[in-house]
Every structure is written in C-alpha cells, then in structure tokens.
Symmetry: C2
Amino acid sequence: MEFANVSERMALSPELAVSTVIFALRDADVSDAGRKELWLPLVRRTREPFKGRWALPGGPLGGTQALQDAAAANLRSTTGLVPRYLEQLYAFGGLDRSPSRRVVSIVYWALVRESDAGAHPARPEAGTRPVTGADGEPGPTSVLREDPNVAWFAAGDEAVLDGLAFDHADIVRYALWRLRNKVAYGSIAHRLLGERFTLAQVREVYEAVLGRSLDPANFRRQLLASPGIVETGEFLQGGKHRPPRLYRYVEPEPAGIPDPG
Amino acid sequence: MEFANVSERMALSPELAVSTVIFALRDADVSDAGRKELWLPLVRRTREPFKGRWALPGGPLGGTQALQDAAAANLRSTTGLVPRYLEQLYAFGGLDRSPSRRVVSIVYWALVRESDAGAHPARPEAGTRPVTGADGEPGPTSVLREDPNVAWFAAGDEAVLDGLAFDHADIVRYALWRLRNKVAYGSIAHRLLGERFTLAQVREVYEAVLGRSLDPANFRRQLLASPGIVETGEFLQGGKHRPPRLYRYVEPEPAGIPDPG
DNA sequence: TGAGTTATTGTCGTCGTGACAATAACTTGT
DNA sequence: ACAAGTTATTGTCACGACGACAATAACTCA
C-alpha cells in the first residue's frame, strides 16, 4: 500500500498489530553464578523501519484471530513455546510510534518455563541462538530452532533496551513493572518453574523479579499461608545440603476476578 | 463498505474503535435518599446492529488521533464534560463482538465530577435526558445538551446492563471491577468530587464504589495518613450538625509508576 | 436549654510482617 | 566416624496497620 502524502495516510484507519513480551527465568550471566534473572526473546527486524534492530515478536492482526490467540501464535512461532501465563498488557497507539505508518499495537505479556527456554546463550550482544529442548517433563515436543534472527536477552539490561526498535523499550519496562506488581500479589511465580518446585526456587523467582533478596524464613511462612501451594511428600535429592521439600501448585477456585475477553 | 461473504471480511484487518466507560457519582434513586451511587451515560444506537439499544459512547479511531485523545473526545462530544480521570481499560477483540464486521475496541474508563454530570434523571428506563450545567466552580463552561439519545443510568443496575448492545455489559462490569481495585489502593476518589470536600464525602465515594459501609473513625485515620490530602482552614457550613472540616487534594510526586503511552 | 446528629479523638485486641535467633538435616572433607 | 559447612525449617519478638467500639466535641433544631 502506498500513500501520496501524510494527510492521506493519516485519514485512514490505523493498522492493528499484536506483540508479545515473553519472560523466562535463567541463570544470571557469568560472575555471580547462582542467581536467577529474567530473560526475554527478541527478533531482529529484516525490513525498514529499524532494519537490523531487535524488536518484540509480533505482527499484524489477522481478521480471524482473537487477540490472545494472535499473541500465543506469535509466541509459538518465534520461540516454539507454549505460554504458562498470558495476559494483555496495554494497547499502544501513540502517533509517533513508527516513522512510516500509524500503527496501534495491542501488547501481551507472557511467562514461559525456564527449562522450556533452552540453553543459556553466551553473550546477548552476539545475537546468540536459543537452543530449545531438553524438556525434563512430559508435554508437547519442544521445537528445535536455529533462527539467527531470534535471541534471548537479559530483560533488565538497559543497554539492550535502548537499542530496541520503535517504542519497544518503554513497552518492556512497563511489562516488567506489571510483572513486579503481579508477583507481589498473587501466585504466578510458579509459572516460571516446573511442575514441582522447592520454596527456595520460588523465592529465587521473587528475588529475580523484585530485584532484592528476601528472608527465607518469612518468605516461607508467607507463601505457605497463601492458597494453592501444597506439599508433595517428596524431597529434592542430589543437592549439596539438606534436601528441601518439593511443592506443587493447584489452581484455587476463581475468586470473582473478571477475565475480559 | 460491503463484503461478498464472511471469509472475505475476515481476511481484512479488523476495524479499530475507541469507547469509554464514564462514571459519575449521584444520589441513589428514590427510597434511600442520602446514599450515593455510580452512574454512567449511555448513547442510544441509531443504526444496525443493535439499533435502538443503549451502548457505550465511542466510535471508530481516526488516523490522527492518539488513543486517549479519542476517548476524551467522545467523552466530551456525548456528555460535554472533561474527565477528571482517564485510563485505558482493556482492548476487546473477540471475534463475535459484533454480528456484522469484526471490530477491535480499545476501551477507556473515566471519572467525572458529580456536579458536572447534571440533574438526576427521574427514571433510567425512560431514557431521561441529562441536564448538564449548574457547575458550582470556575472552569470551562458546561455545555447544555438535550440529546434524547444520551441518558444516565445506575452503573450497578443489572437490568440496565443486560439490555446493552454488543458486549458492553461485560465491559461495564469489568470497568466497575477496575474502579473498585483502584479506589482500594490509591487516591482517585476525590476525582468524583469537587475541589474541596469533607472526609465524609470521600467516605461516601468509597461506600458507593465498594458497596459497603465503612467506619468513619478508621476511614478518617487511614485517609489522613495517605499523602495528598491536606486540610484547608475552612469548614463546610450550612449542614444540620457539626460542621466538618474541608480538605483538598494535592498531587504527590509521581512514584515511579510508568505511564504507558 | 436540651435533644439529636455528625465530627473527631482515644483505646484496644488482632494480625501480618520484618529482623533475627535457634535448631534440623544433609554433604563434603579428613 | 567425625567435624565443618551449608541450607532447610521452626521459634520469638517488636512494630505498625487495621477493625471494633467507646468517648468526647460541636453544631442545629425544637
């Protein structure tokens, strides 16, 4: 589609796109080993504008796709993963989001499991490929991808964010803020973990998301008081120290929180 | 625009619209006099689909309008009011929202002042006209309107909601839920009131929104502890009993809460 | 002047939370 | 086997927020 001038294109209805901010938990980069960190996959743009820059996975909304389905679809097509959590973030519709045409983007944010997210890339800046697979649990077969235009980055790395296309840096920062608020309330931390987990692992999620360390004793009590966390009889063996109890999450009944279509 | 068949229209990009859920505080209907209640303006549809039914104010998004500007514009055009608070609610994009074409609606919700919202209509079902005006304070001149296709309704009235066009009943319920959550946290209650207000008035807002009565003593302490509420030296005269102190709201500095574009 | 009503302050028990001590259980090294 | 080291788990305690409710203050109206 071509437009004769600015006023002509502005008169038309804006284009509608759906993008997704995808978070996974991984070991932090070298140096401090044990700590976990949030990572997200980005795709390299192959066309103008912002050709060559990294951007959030997404694309135009098809006429037969529900919004959330579109988000799940471009999540799967870029990462080969199925979301453990998926929620609408915001609709961004500023006039200057794109230098070419006016685009309104409805952005979703998602959580996926660490083990699903593949191996740890050596260097984000190098555009390292993700290696998905090695799924420790039964489920849909992981798609092995070697797309050089998809790579994972540390979500909190401002140097990465500043290089993103469009207003995607703002979007990621807003998604991080939403994630922090969500985790502060309810129980979505387990969606970054496997089926069974230790309380210390949940605490690592909280610490990674909130960016500060938490008292193990107090955190334990608080988490056990919340509904949904039930203890399996099992313990995690193979550690170097006292084996921790394994827990799992069972969905409590929906408590009157409306889910907008 | 006409389409030959369903698959043809589905292949095209969905239409983009912006709608707004507008809340104001008013005296509840007859019977229990003193109590306040949430009301919202609706517009009667003059075209198919849902011709004759009541619906949220809104319309297609122009190519040169920012999303929030579009919401403020259709708020002003239907009610003649300027919002005291305006926030994006959600983007609704289900495939079956409209029986004709596929429409994605980005919905905002707004708070306006009681005094701005005009006189109390006798009966919602009758499609009573709003009478805007009688603004007790300086500001933009209120637009006097007599549009028979705009009327105010009690927001909590399920009988009203069930008659709405499209999925607008769900949207209003979701907006009410968001409003309840917002009021529980922060300080937006004063945006339904005038420049100066008594603590009892703020409490009435909370009681109307939350749907339960609150202890005046505890509410007072809690509110005074929160930032932004400062006491003027004045008292509200003319009441039947001990004159309450008048307060006003001053915006505290933004506390790191990102405002998505 | 007194009754009635609202505004405002005071008191108190409960609960959630953070700081931190203490104990339990396991691995590793000698 | 034993000690040392580390993590898991339980206990204790002080503080602040909050709800229930009593008590006082201040005004209007009859």
